[in-house]
Symmetry: C2
Subunit: 241 residues, 2 copies
């Protein structure tokens, strides 16, 4: 019997890599989906590709979409990415790196792809604990999307097949995500979480995404294997502060 | 006081043109939103542009998205558009012109644009009566999207401003849509509803969209002012059958 198919959103970061590994481990034939959305760093697409290869996914689809034409975010526009935010402040407000309706847009395309390939499972590496305060990362948001998905598609209407939105990391801390990924063979050196990497792909170590990631590795007593810009001393910056 | 802004999805067809006219009449500063999504006929974008100009909209945004890479529809792939379906059969099954998750994708972008421009109203010309049997045209689908929208966005979370999805045509027949549009000054000769128009923009008169539209004009005892390919005799084809 062939494996059931699943669509997994791949951002290139450590959360989506771990999520894809979870989907593989659960026995799905995983189709990775990434977006070229006018983000400043296409480096994350390279990271997504490395992850897809490393996990042996059967397919990695990259779609072009035009979020720059909408604007409104530090990740698509010429707005500065916040750096050195106090860790205790991260997640308290919605930061300028929030891309309006991004997860809704990404999940909509994932739903379209799922319908075309005959998948009824969609995985997204969202995280409601050590997260950046984005509204579309909360469990109630994903429940609402799942409800929508089952009203939106031909398969739902004609076959009664229901779509499931899987968020396996939603209640995990960064530390737990790293531990899960390591247990499943994720190569975190190939992932890129930084919002503002150098042209060679080295992470800044100072944006919210870097800070949360470094904290996770630090709590495990490990060094993040991904490349960082030298001044961040491989993630040990905060320990000496 | 400046008018409240609204985003209106503009497909180039008569339903979205009437919807935009309703939004203008309700006092909104209307921002039209259309998509270049790999559809076979970019002619519909020209029709959307004519509609936006005719109604004096303050802005018409066209986004490039990549639905062809997903496939699965007669509107994006090399699948034949169904012709001459018996009128009583239209809407009973989901036809091959259904684009997977299209309204979900379009509404997601509308939500993003609404958030960036500070609009809390989104209009879509969906229609659940004389419709083509698409699952994402039903009232319960739009209710689910509105619920999602209010969980998805910064404005919903930070300001409690709620997003409203307006579907002013949802319970209207094609005849009523035409009557509404005419009363609001919509120029239906500038609109294009056909799924398979000739290169010069003349409608085929035989696809589901043409048949439903022609039926509406016929019931009003009017001739559709839009151009049709000659063999369809300006929409009087069915009357002689």
């Amino acid at each position: 019997m062939s494996k059931p198919k699943a669509v997994v959103l791949l951002s290139g970061g450590m959360d989506s890599a771990t999520t894809a590994a979870v989907a593989v481990q659960q026995g799905f034939d995983v189709h990775g989906l990434s977006f070229r959305y006018g983000q400043r760093h296409a480096l994350e697409l390279q990271a997504a590709h490395r992850t897809a290869e490393g996990l042996g996914l059967s397919r990695h689809v990259v779609l072009n979409i035009d979020l720059r034409a909408i604007g409104g975010s530090a990740l698509t526009d010429d707005i500065a990415v916040p750096k050195d935010t106090n860790l205790s402040e991260i997640g308290r407000r919605i930061p300028s790196t929030y891309v309006p309706a991004r997860n809704t847009i990404f999940l909509s395309f994932a739903l379209a792809l799922a319908e075309v390939i005959g998948a009824s499972d969609i995985f997204i590496g969202a995280n409601a604990l050590d997260y950046s305060g984005y509204p579309d990362c909360r469990p109630e948001y994903f429940q609402a999307f799942q409800r929508l998905a089952n009203l939106a598609t031909r398969s739902g209407v004609e076959t009664g097949l229901s779509v499931t939105i899987h968020t396996p990391l939603i209640q995990l801390s960064k530390r737990e995500i790293i531990r899960t990924g390591l247990a499943l063979g994720v190569d975190f050196s190939a992932t890129l979480s930084c919002y503002d990497p150098a042209p060679d792909g080295a992470a800044c170590g100072r944006c919210d995404a870097c800070q949360l990631r470094l904290k996770g590795f630090r709590e495990l007593g490990m060094e993040d294997p991904a490349p960082y810009q030298s001044h961040t001393v491989s993630g040990r910056r905060e320990e000496t502060a």
